[in-house]
Symmetry: C2
């Protein structure tokens, strides 16, 4: 039996799809391990995650090559064209998610250098929300399911709220116990990384919406910090109380 080196258009689209699903699975598992590395204070596990980030980068480059080739040779139209443009964007989002997971792993290593701090316990709770978003958005991508994508899009608000509450908790903790400042600062960035991963899941949900419907979501979801994060009058007063 001979192997065909020139694959059919459908096979190429399927390969593109599968590569994205594979990247998604990797991002999901990298994040899961990064959170475990924080909870178990396990620098060895964290080091593995950092080392494996390059695999996701490699798949991102593969997606780039596949989409360029598909656009050049197949001249795709309508939904196929949207699928390929969508793939370019989703690949960037997944690669960034894995990047953030590697960042969390780097923080996990540093966190083992100081005594454990209480607010670390809130991290896995926030991570679970974000992990569910990743899982759901990958399901939505596989099934091309707009409704499921919209659920993810809406879930981001909850992540933002949890981030805000964690942010305030960490600040309060630092003020009460300045010895915890270094650890709490790293946890602040871990929380911020989780919030950003949630943003990328939201981006993917928007891309799925566009891929399937050909329309763009008209509502704007503000990315980045929430209004509440900046309203710290009470914490500021607490701080001033120490004067």
């Amino acid at each position: 039996m001979t192997t065909h080196t020139v694959k059919s258009y459908d096979e190429e689209l399927t390969r593109l799809h599968n590569t994205l699903v594979q990247m998604g699975g990797m991002a999901e598992s990298q994040l899961d391990h990064a959170i475990k590395a924080i909870v178990r204070r396990d620098p060895g596990l964290a080091a593995t995650i950092i080392k494996e980030d390059v695999k996701v980068d490699r798949l991102d480059h593969e997606v780039d090559a596949m989409t360029t080739k598909l656009l050049a040779l197949r001249q795709p139209m309508a939904q196929d064209l949207r699928t390929i443009i969508g793939a370019v964007k989703i690949s960037v989002d997944l690669e960034r998610m894995a990047d953030y997971a590697a960042n969390i792993a780097r923080r996990a290593i540093t966190l083992t250098q100081s005594a454990p701090v209480k607010p670390a316990f809130a991290i896995p709770r926030m991570a679970r929300l974000v992990q569910n978003m990743i899982k759901d958005v990958l399901d939505a991508f596989i099934a091309r399911d707009i409704d499921k994508a919209m659920l993810v899009w809406n879930a981001d608000e909850e992540v933002d709220e949890m981030y805000t509450s964690l942010f305030r908790e960490l600040l309060t903790y630092m003020i009460e116990d300045p010895r915890s400042i270094t650890s709490c600062t790293h946890l602040l960035f871990v929380a911020k990384n989780l919030e950003r991963i949630g943003d990328h899941a939201t981006n993917i949900a928007e891309t799925i919406y566009f891929m399937v419907s050909g329309k763009r979501l008209l509502e704007e979801r503000p990315r980045g910090p929430t209004k509440e994060e900046f309203d710290m009058t009470d914490i500021v007063q607490k701080t001033s109380g120490q004067t």
Copy 2:
């Protein structure tokens, strides 16, 4: 004289190019204003930046529409195809840069609610480096200049170093004066936003390299925190000293 509603392919490519240059100019000016808002403690200026972020988002959507149309109707090949795929990516990077500028503006507003802290003076210095990267990468994009793009790509290291030094300065300051924790935390995120803007300029430099040469940069530039940022043994010891 009649106006032609069907534009020529070249005109469409030029329009795409100009829209990206316009987005770049906006991102540059949004960041410039955000830093001014921090230095002058000017919440009014900051509010304007936040309001204007939507303009960059709108241009990003325009680029999406233009590239989709170009790919569907013109079936571009070789360098044109790379230019269009590159435009999709550069547009995302520029939109994120403006997003980060808006985040900095939000922090600028909160910072006016507490007394000024000394490390705020280091922010404009770091910002200047990042602003130069944006300016240079836009010049490189306009001139399709690979050498200039590579200069930007290499400059990111300096930004990372400055970020690390600012990070340590802010942590030390917080430990010495816990009243400054809230302000310093916001400044930490401002510094992180600047560092991320530098990463996006680096991404654009990589895209320019790909657009012009058709090749991918083989070296990997690790995005995200530097190794040094995590080596805080001295600061940790300082913290423990307070026990």
